[in-house]
């Protein structure tokens, strides 16, 4: 081994970010990419679901099949993004490995590319994961096909994948198992084996984004078990949309039993010169009770997440929505909690 980029994340170079739908995978993946790039690295953020969520998040037009710079990280780092498209990846792959550009065209004409990327089981996932792994292994001084060693520094300090949701993640990453049913030999199989080597290695970590809600937490627990079972490495739990507690525990516990110091609320409402102090105070008391129930439900979920046994980082709920500035804030929170180092 010769010189390398400084490695800020304990040897992990492929960060796969999964989670239940809508929990904040795309947001967390982007924030993680920003935090990994901070201080002068180049990080690739990869999207594999054809949703163009990254472009939208960074307020850009849809990304072509091309690595483009989408943001600067603090301290001079850069985040590039790529929306991987299975068809384009297949044509690229054919050309790279077989010099078969024309063949690719013939395949397209007969619907074979469509076939391979949408129906032929596993092939699509081999292509998508294969592209991410290729970027992980790519070194400066020209592209080399997977597996060919080089000693130039890596092009990307890390690759962050905005991955499919928890329910499909193990199957998606375990391309080998899937392809084994179809292609027992042949180049697709060889490629799948190489992809698996990286994905199963300590250089790949699968992070789970969750909310403090029952179902995302349950899916997380199931997903972590599945990932472990498939011989891959779970990374961190990213607990998203965490709201700070507004009341001390004893006040919440009492509120849950319907015991709120309404008189004290009335005094406060009066002090603030608001209208209808007693009605307002009653309303506030009801809101507190509902809030207390929610906090307790969240605490129960937190307990279950603790039992999953992975290091957790919290991301705050940002009530104003997620814009680029918010992404930097989230990236900072990840860095503070050690998720980027």
């Amino acid at each position: 081994m010769s010189q390398r980029d400084p490695d800020p994340s304990g040897g992990v170079r492929l960060h796969v970010v999964t989670g239940k739908g809508g929990t904040g995978k795309t947001t967390a993946a982007a924030a993680l990419a920003l935090s990994l790039a901070a201080g002068g690295g180049r990080v690739l953020l990869v999207e594999v679901e054809g949703r163009q969520g990254i472009a939208e998040l960074f307020g850009r037009p849809p990304l072509p099949y091309e690595e483009r710079k989408v943001a600067e990280a603090r301290g001079g780092g850069e985040v590039f993004a790529l929306a991987v498209d299975a068809e384009a990846a297949l044509l690229e792959y054919l050309e790279l490995f077989y010099g078969m550009r024309r063949a690719g065209q013939a395949l397209t004409r007969f619907g074979a590319v469509d076939f391979a990327t949408t129906i032929a089981p596993g092939v699509r996932d081999v292509l998508l994961t294969g592209k991410a792994v290729e970027a992980v292994r790519r070194r400066r001084g020209g592209r080399r096909p997977l597996g060919q060693a080089g000693d130039e520094p890596y092009v990307y300090r890390a690759v962050v994948m905005d991955a499919p949701p928890t329910g499909r993640i193990a199957q998606f990453l375990n391309v080998n198992a899937e392809v084994a049913g179809l292609a027992r030999i042949g180049p697709v199989r060889t490629q799948a084996d190489k992809v698996m080597e990286t994905i199963r290695s300590a250089r790949t970590a699968v992070h789970f984004v969750t909310l403090l809600e029952e179902m995302p937490a349950q899916e997380t627990a199931d997903g972590v078990a599945e990932i472990r079972g498939a011989g891959m490495n779970p990374g961190r739990l990213i607990v998203n949309m965490v709201r700070d507690p507004l009341f001390p525990p004893d006040v919440l516990a009492a509120a849950e039993r319907g015991e709120v110091d309404v008189e004290s609320l009335v005094q406060g409402v009066k002090a603030a010169r608001l209208d209808r102090p007693s009605e307002t105070a009653d309303g506030l008391a009801r809101e507190m009770a509902a809030h207390a129930r929610r906090v307790r439900a969240e605490a129960a979920v937190r307990g279950r997440l603790d039992r999953v046994g992975l290091p957790a980082v919290d991301l705050p709920y940002l009530g104003e929505g997620i814009d680029t500035a918010a992404l930097y804030r989230l990236a900072d929170r990840l860095a503070e909690q050690g998720a980027a180092g």
Binding site: I185, V188, L246, G268, A271
Partner: protein
């Protein structure tokens, strides 16, 4: 602008409505809505069945579904029995559904061959879109059986909103398409040659990339499959027409967040373009503050003032809590306004966010009540 309210009870009571499809983007509450509609329909006296896709484990348990078994199971619901109705529920097992189609259409030996084919095995369990296709297939079967007054269909958390409409056609197209013909044609027959010189090259490349064995598996799968099914495409089209038919009502489920509403918007346009009968939108997880209280800005200012004064910490925190809730309500009202401006004629029903997840019959009933309440005379929040 206030939207027309979606009269869910009228929809559930209408004997002409035989199928309700709950669709929408990931995690918005499709499964919850479907199950709640099932409970409510049953308690209104209908013989209802709910096809769920990947229900949360505790929800499945409370519906009495302990395993994927692809057959409707009765949900004990005394209130429904009293009203002369019943509820059944099932969890969709896409592989099992696919296997059943094979078993129903092939002679036993051929069925065995297909079921053992590695290509079939991975396609039936992992092709993205198979789940969508199978949900529709199952719907078709239940509709044909004539056993149910009302079938409520939950849809899979698709990669994109369109998968669910496109997947059946796509699968059908492939299984009937040109490539399949080429791959399925016995090599070196007249028909094969007719297709032109490109064919040899195509099969050559495919075999080079995936290996000759895999190509053989595909070919043998296709030839037996083709003989069994004839027109997969036709089957897909029948399913598609079933969705367009009167008696089907689509509900687009959404939550009041910009992304989800954008997707809902997209979905509604797509349903209209495909002439699918959209009954309305279910706006799930809306927030209504417990009390009117002061507006967000005023509450926030009051909270800051009290905070600074230091004498009323409880009221300061409670006002902050209220300010957040009021701000959320304002934002949701604005989003809802945009939705109704864009689709003025689409009725909307609202379901408030609950403090806890929905995983028992009681909670489903309450969600159903919220849906029902949203009728034309219901009291808006």
């Amino acid at each position: 602008m206030s939207a027309e309210r979606l009269d869910v009870d009228a929809l559930l009571a209408d004997p002409g409505v035989r199928t309700i499809v709950c669709c929408g983007s990931g995690g918005v509450g499709k499964t919850t809505t479907a199950a709640a509609l099932g409970v409510r329909a049953a308690e209104m006296g209908r013989g209802a069945v709910v096809i769920t896709v990947d229900p949360a484990r505790r929800l499945a348990q409370s519906l009495g579904l302990t395993e994927l078994d692809n057959t409707p199971r009765p949900v004990p619901l005394p209130e429904a029995a009293e009203a002369g109705g019943s509820l059944h529920a099932m969890m969709l097992d896409m592989k099992r559904t696919f296997d059943e189609i094979v078993e129903a259409h092939a002679d036993p030996e051929r069925a065995r061959e297909i079921l053992a084919n590695p290509f079939y095995r991975s396609m039936s369990s992992s092709f993205s879109g198979t789940q969508e296709y199978m949900a529709m297939e199952k719907l078709g079967q239940l509709r044909e059986s004539g056993e149910w007054d009302l079938i409520v269909v939950d849809t899979p958390p698709s990669r994109s909103a369109l998968d669910f409409l496109d997947a059946p056609k796509r699968l059908g197209r492939f299984l009937d398409g040109r490539l399949i013909r080429i791959l399925g044609a016995p090599a070196r027959t007249g028909a094969f040659r007719l297709l032109g010189a490109g064919v040899g090259a195509v099969t050559g490349i495919i075999s080079k990339v995936v290996g000759a064995q895999a190509l053989k598996d595909v070919q043998s799968f296709i030839s037996s499959f083709d003989a069994v099914f004839g027109g997969f495409q036709e089957r897909a089209e029948r399913t598609y027409r079933l969705l367009q038919a009167p008696g089907t009502a689509f509900l687009v489920v959404a939550v009041p967040e910009p992304d989800a509403l954008r997707e809902a918007d997209y979905f509604m346009e797509r349903l209209a373009a495909d002439r699918m009968p959209l009954a309305g939108v279910v706006l799930n997880r809306t927030h209504r503050p417990e009390a009117d209280g002061p507006p967000a800005e005023e509450a926030l200012a009051a909270s800051r003032e009290l905070e600074a004064g230091g004498e009323h910490p409880l009221a300061a925190a409670a006002l902050l809590l209220h300010a957040r809730a009021a701000r959320l309500r304002d934002r949701e009202a604005e989003l809802r306004g945009r939705l109704t401006a864009a689709h003025p004629r689409i009725p909307v029903a609202e379901v408030p966010a609950r403090a806890e997840d929905v995983y028992d019959i009681g909670a489903l009933r309450e969600v159903g009540e919220a849906l029902g309440e949203a009728g034309p005379d219901g009291v808006p929040g």
